[in-house]
């Protein structure tokens, strides 16, 4: 019996990724989109037409990562104009920063929008309460994965906790189903100040495919201050880890 366990341990070896910031994902991964505007708009128009969430505008050419589900179909319609890179660090501190413009070569992360108390109170330890409101369970599984044996975000003092009373913030996933709206509100208000609010996944950021559904109630998003926006369908664990890490780091103010 013991032999069996030793065998498992030996087969698995060290599993954790030592440098989480140094990871480059596979070329196939669709992360930050690079946009190139052209005179001829016909391809962009086709891409904008087929986009299931209306994430693309044609003039000027922009792509809203908060709506994008990273299906990659627009790149096939307009290969000269849209190219998804494997850059997974997509976090933004302001909603409007998720809108990518032509010529932009990296995601925008505006440190000036971060409240200074976040680094002060949560720089060493951060416990979060996750609430799903109509999410399809993929973002939720990726959030679970952030604490697994490979990513092991817990080593930096970040974890998920059961009680909102024990948590320092809320991570919201899903387009916010109306049937869950009240429970979500109660949960958020049960968390003591100071607290942070993280919106995880494109469906949570914009409603995604369900933005116009009458079964969805998005008033929560308008009511409270959001500290971090994390796009993706689902959000990659490394995107979450990178965003939270930068949110709680002390940033030098430019002089």
């Amino acid at each position: 019996m013991l032999f069996g366990k030793v065998k498992i341990l030996r087969s698995h070896g060290w599993q954790y990724i030592p440098d989480l910031d140094g990871v480059t994902l596979t070329e196939e991964f669709r992360g930050f989109p690079r946009l190139t505007d052209t005179e001829d708009k016909s391809d962009i128009e086709r891409a904008a037409k087929i986009c299931p969430t209306g994430a693309i505008t044609t003039s000027p050419l922009t792509l809203d990562m908060g709506k994008c589900l990273f299906c990659g179909e627009c790149q096939r319609c307009a290969p000269r104009n849209i190219h998804f890179t494997n850059e997974h660090r997509l976090a933004a501190t302001r909603r409007e920063d998720l809108i990518v413009t032509a010529g932009q070569d990296a995601p925008k992360f505006d440190t000036s929008a971060i409240r200074p108390e976040i680094a002060k109170y949560f720089g060493k330890a951060l416990q979060l309460r996750e609430v799903t409101a109509g999410g399809d369970c993929s973002v939720e599984m990726e959030l679970n994965a952030t604490g697994n044996v490979n990513f092991d975000f817990g080593r930096f003092g970040v974890g998920f906790t059961a009680s909102p009373r024990h948590s320092d913030g809320l991570v919201l996933t899903g387009p916010i189903s109306a049937n869950m709206a009240e429970a979500l509100d109660i949960c958020y208000n049960s968390i003591a100040e100071p607290k942070i609010l993280v919106i995880c996944g494109s469906e949570a950021i914009s409603g995604g495919l369900y933005a116009e559904s009458p079964a969805v109630d998005r008033t929560f998003i308008d009511k409270y201050h959001v500290d971090l926006w994390l796009p993706g369908a689902p959000t990659h664990p490394l995107c979450f880890i990178d965003g939270i890490t930068r949110l709680r780091t002390k940033h030098k103010t430019k002089k």
């Binding site: 069996g4 498992i8 087929i50 299931p52 109509g134 959030l143 189903s177 049937n179 009458p214």
Partner: protein, 504 residues
């Protein structure tokens, strides 16, 4: 009079005019006896709006012949009511509850006519999540435990109400609907088929490949498309990868809930390898974007075939070590064996499907009984069966299925050389009008059934989705009866049912 139109899971769409419109009393009389035979079970049963009322459609699956029986009826339900089929055969309960909730149809003598998911378009708006009519038992020594809608971990919301005598659970009732997003209505908001494909992928994110395959099959049946052999093979690889990934996740989750960290971390690592294989194939760890109607954006290449074979061989070898050790781990067996029993007869009665049913010795596996694509032509699938119906049986089914799926992938890829000629997806092909198409897919949880109806111009006018969870939630409620309430988590994980797939 002919009661049913007979077709199967490989035939193309059928004209609505070919589906018999029968008298409900006659159908009821036929089903009373027919459904006593376990070779039949209900695939789907729903109502759709027509001029001046509702038309009902029912799909019955015959597991012996592989036939699918389709019928319809237009009853005068408000005047006469409809005799409840659930009263005879409990497997009809979610379908009748759904129709009652949406249209207010009175099903006479339905034993459990409670709200199903509180959809936004329900008939009785005064019925809300907060007013769910939980079953209660009077007694000085009994107490109730309410769990949810928000649970301890990162999982989806649902409300569980236990009635306990001390630590023993007498009754569990599960109230769902918190995840309702209006999926079936959003399917019809626009006829943009890329959008519809993505909605299918989001029905249950952990079954993205399964539901997207079901959608793609529907489109292919409406367009009479016989997809290339290679594409059938690649879709088989995709769905078996998903099965391996989720069975690994659940092996790990079960270990977590009894504090067995070694298996937990081993399975986490193995799942990472598996879903990263999907990511290296199509760019998404959950296989989103892998399945598209009538073609693919991510055909396999020789390098990707080699990558998948290498990773799966590695997962298979390492998982087998875990599996062998689990079978000897007495501390684990003590917790899992004889816990959460669902006897075969009970599973048959409630219409259980998929791996949970097979763990109770009840054979339900679409890959064997109603095969599609690659399973119909190249694999003679022998379902993994266990008889005990306890938590351990559900784990053992998973363990064997992982190895089986790995074998299918390995043997299919061993001789596979991609030709590089697979077509791109087609989102524009005109659909046959005034027709009904359905698809049956065995996802990792069990039987997925999608049904669509088209209007005269070929637009999809009705889209109905069935995730296997809709059958199996009642199985979980039955499993925990008479167990200690502290065993609820392992029972829950042993089923791992979908909230969003149920709530839609």
């Amino acid at each position: 009079m002919k009661l049913y139109l007979t077709t199967n899971n490989r035939a193309s769409a059928v004209a609505i005019s070919d589906i018999p419109v029968v008298d409900y009393a006659e159908l009821y009389a036929d089903l009373r006896d027919r459904m006593c035979n376990t070779r039949y079970h209900v695939g789907h049963y729903f109502a759709t709006e027509i001029e001046n009322g509702l038309k009902f459609y029912m799909l019955l699956l015959d597991d012996t012949t592989g036939e699918v029986l389709i019928t319809s009826f237009i009853p005068d339900y408000y005047a006469e009511g409809l005799a409840s089929l659930t009263a005879l055969h409990p497997q009809f309960h979610p379908f009748e509850r759904e129709m009652h909730e949406l249209y207010g149809i009175p099903f006479d003598h339905h034993p459990w006519l409670k709200p199903l998911r509180f959809p936004h378009n329900r008939r009785d708006k005064s019925s809300t999540m907060d007013s769910y009519p939980f079953y209660t038992i009077e007694g000085d020594e009994l107490h109730e435990v309410n769990v949810g809608p928000i649970h301890a971990g990162i999982i989806e919301p649902g409300a569980f109400r236990f009635i306990c005598d001390g630590e023993q659970v007498l009754h569990l009732e599960i109230a769902l609907g918190y995840q309702h997003r209006g999926v079936e209505e959003e399917m019809l908001r626009s006829q943009n088929r890329l959008r519809q494909t993505l909605i299918a992928e989001s029905i249950a994110g952990d079954t993205a490949v399964g539901h997207a395959t079901a959608y793609a099959e529907i489109i292919e049946k409406f367009t009479d498309t016989n997809i290339a052999e290679e594409l059938k093979l690649e879709r088989m690889i995709a769905i078996e990868l998903e099965r391996i990934a989720m069975h690994l996740a659940d092996t790990g989750a079960l270990a977590t809930d009894i504090g067995f960290q070694l298996y937990q971390v081993a399975c986490e690592a193995l799942r990472t390898v598996t879903i990263n294989t999907s990511q290296a194939w199509c760019g998404n760890r959950f296989g989103k974007s892998m399945i598209r109607p009538m073609g693919t954006n991510h055909p396999l290449t020789a390098e990707k075939v080699a990558m998948i074979r290498k990773n799966i061989a590695d997962v298979r070898r390492r998982y087998n070590e875990v599996r062998e050790d689990i079978c000897e781990a007495h501390t684990l067996l003590t917790r899992f064996e004889q816990c959460g029993l669902v006897p075969k007869a009970e599973m048959e009665r409630i219409g259980g499907v998929g791996m949970a049913a097979r763990s109770s010795g009840h054979m339900r596996d679409i890959r064997a009984t109603h095969p599609w694509g690659f399973y119909a032509e190249k694999i003679h699938h022998e379902p993994v069966m266990k008889g005990e119906g306890d938590v351990m049986a559900r784990l053992a089914t998973r363990m064997d299925e992982i190895l089986q799926s790995a074998d299918y992938i390995e043997s299919a890829l061993a001789t596979y050389t991609p030709s590089g000629t697979l077509p791109a997806p087609n989102y524009e092909a005109p659909l046959k009008g005034e027709a009904l198409a359905f698809s049956l897919i065995e996802g990792w949880r069990g039987e997925i059934c999608h049904v669509a109806l088209t209007a005269a111009n070929g637009d999809i006018a009705k889209y109905k989705i069935k995730d296997p969870s809709i059958h199996n939630w009642l199985g979980l409620a039955i499993a925990v009866r008479s167990e200690g309430i502290s065993d609820f988590p392992i029972n829950n994980k042993s089923f791992n049912l979908s909230y969003c797939g149920h709530d839609l």
